[in-house]
């Protein structure tokens, strides 16, 4: 089977064209990136504000538990008819919505917890030095929350990259496509090749976001996925 996989990978036809690995990988990354970005835009502002006010702890816990219970496969499947009715079509949008839902909780929870957990004495000192609330948040709490926030984004990114694979089930051409085709055609070399590429992509994402986190927060001993967001596997 490994030889089959190697044969598949070394065949130029596998790489080029609409169903070629290059195009599929690009589609994969494109969708993952869009979903992650949307999740950050949607989750971070409310999380920071709620964290600043120390409100929403219960919401956070509920969100974590609920998100863990939510099978992404079911979400993708369910979003499909809705997306169709909204004229958004197959493929990209249903998967996008499901991935945003998947990526939201870790980002939200870590951003919230990061701000909520900032040492009360530090915040008081900031106020004592005459900072306005907005300045407290911007200059003190957000920087302090950065390591955790970066870790949350990292967890989400890895999950999203892994889960985008399922987009193929609703007609989105991505790295899941050769897997499903391979199963159908009993061409397991193809399956293995695609699986290895996805796994490599998610490890690469993990490493890239880890490095980015360290770069952004050189003062912190970087928390990885062992955060309050807790581990969640891509379904």
């Amino acid at each position: 089977m490994i030889e089959d996989a190697l044969a598949y990978l070394t065949d130029a036809d596998s790489w080029w064209g609409r169903n070629g690995l290059v195009n599929l990988t690009w589609n994969h990354v494109r969708l993952s990136g869009a979903a992650l970005l949307a999740a950050i835009v949607l989750a971070v502002p409310p999380a920071l504000l709620l964290g600043h006010r120390h409100r929403g702890g219960l919401l956070t816990v509920t969100l974590v538990n609920l998100s863990r219970a939510l099978p992404t496969f079911a979400v993708i499947a369910f979003v499909l008819p809705v997306s169709y009715q909204l004229d958004l079509g197959l493929g990209f949008w249903p998967t996008f919505v499901a991935l945003v839902l998947l990526a939201l909780p870790p980002v939200f929870v870590n951003a919230y917890t990061g701000v909520d957990d900032v040492d009360a004495a530090v915040v008081e000192a900031a106020r004592g030095m005459g900072m306005r609330e907005s300045e407290v948040l911007r200059r003190v709490e957000v920087p302090a929350a950065m390591p955790l926030l970066a870790a949350g984004v990292r967890v989400s990114a890895v999950q999203v990259v892994a889960t985008t694979t399922l987009g193929t089930l609703v007609g989105y051409r991505c790295l899941g496509t050769p897997i499903i085709q391979g199963i159908a055609e009993r061409d397991y070399g193809k399956v293995l090749a695609a699986a290895v590429i996805v796994a490599a992509l998610s490890l690469l994402t993990d490493a890239a976001f880890g490095a980015l986190g360290r770069r952004l927060t050189p003062w912190a001993d970087n928390p990885t996925i062992e955060t309050k967001a807790s581990v969640q596997h891509a379904t």
């Binding site: 538990n65 099978p71 079911a74 499947a77 369910f78 892994a162 899941g176 499903i180 399956v191 596997h233």
Partner: protein, 224 residues
């Protein structure tokens, strides 16, 4: 107009549900069985890995890295890779799910046992516990909440992942989702997804209760 002509106007067809109660029950059992085996086997392996990691500290990082790497493989991909070796069905999914539980359980077991206060262990040694007895009666006992927490997360995660297993023939609620997807029929998707969520939440609550029952000391300070 499209290949996706809707077969039913309503999102949920009660008629379909009424016709499929037997299958729903059958799929529930499959889902439960797969989850139970995966978490059970995962727990045994993770416990052994934890013993090794606690005994030889240096082994923890590679063990965690290994289970982390396994964890990062997308479920669909891992199921598919295993199929040529195991055939379609229950086995590839079970093996993959077991590997997914390892990271969660290993971390929680090690963190739980590591989290037992040093002073408590010193007092236990000072009072003359034999090492094995201390491990069972003190270390493991005090790590129980963390271990149950790990089982809780692993179980809920696995329940969600089993749905994907239907793609390689494992059975379970994913069969409904797959069926609905292929026929553009929302009812089985909602039933399969909804029941999977319900099962996950039920187990989540169950383990919260177990956690509370096994740690009476963390509540109110009074013995029951």
């Amino acid at each position: 107009m499209s290949i996706f002509a809707t077969r039913h106007d309503r999102l949920l067809s009660w008629e379909w549900i009424g016709d499929h109660t037997d299958e729903i029950w059958e799929r529930t059992l499959q889902h439960l069985q797969l989850t139970g085996y995966a978490v059970g086997i995962g727990l045994v392996i993770a416990m052994a890995m934890s013993m090794v990691a606690l005994r030889w500290r240096r082994a923890y990082a590679p063990l965690a890295a290994l289970s982390g790497a396994l964890y990062s493989i997308p479920s669909l991909a891992l199921f598919a890779i295993l199929v040529p070796y195991t055939g379609l069905g229950f086995r590839p999914v079970l093996i993959a799910l077991v590997t997914y539980t390892l990271l969660i359980l290993l971390r929680n077991i090690v963190a739980g046992i590591d989290g037992v206060p040093r002073s408590v262990l010193e007092a236990a040694d000072g009072m003359g516990y034999e090492p094995w007895r201390r491990f069972l009666a003190v270390d493991l006992r005090l790590a129980t909440p963390a271990i149950i927490g790990g089982i809780r997360v692993a179980t809920v995660t696995v329940i969600g992942l089993v749905t994907v297993g239907a793609l390689v023939g494992s059975g379970g609620y994913g069969v409904f989702i797959n069926d609905g997807l292929s026929r553009n029929f929302t009812t089985p998707i909602i039933v399969g997804g909804g029941l999977s969520i319900a099962m996950a939440i039920a187990f989540d609550l169950l383990f919260v209760a177990v956690q509370r029952l096994t740690t009476p000391w963390s509540r109110a300070g009074m013995a029951p």
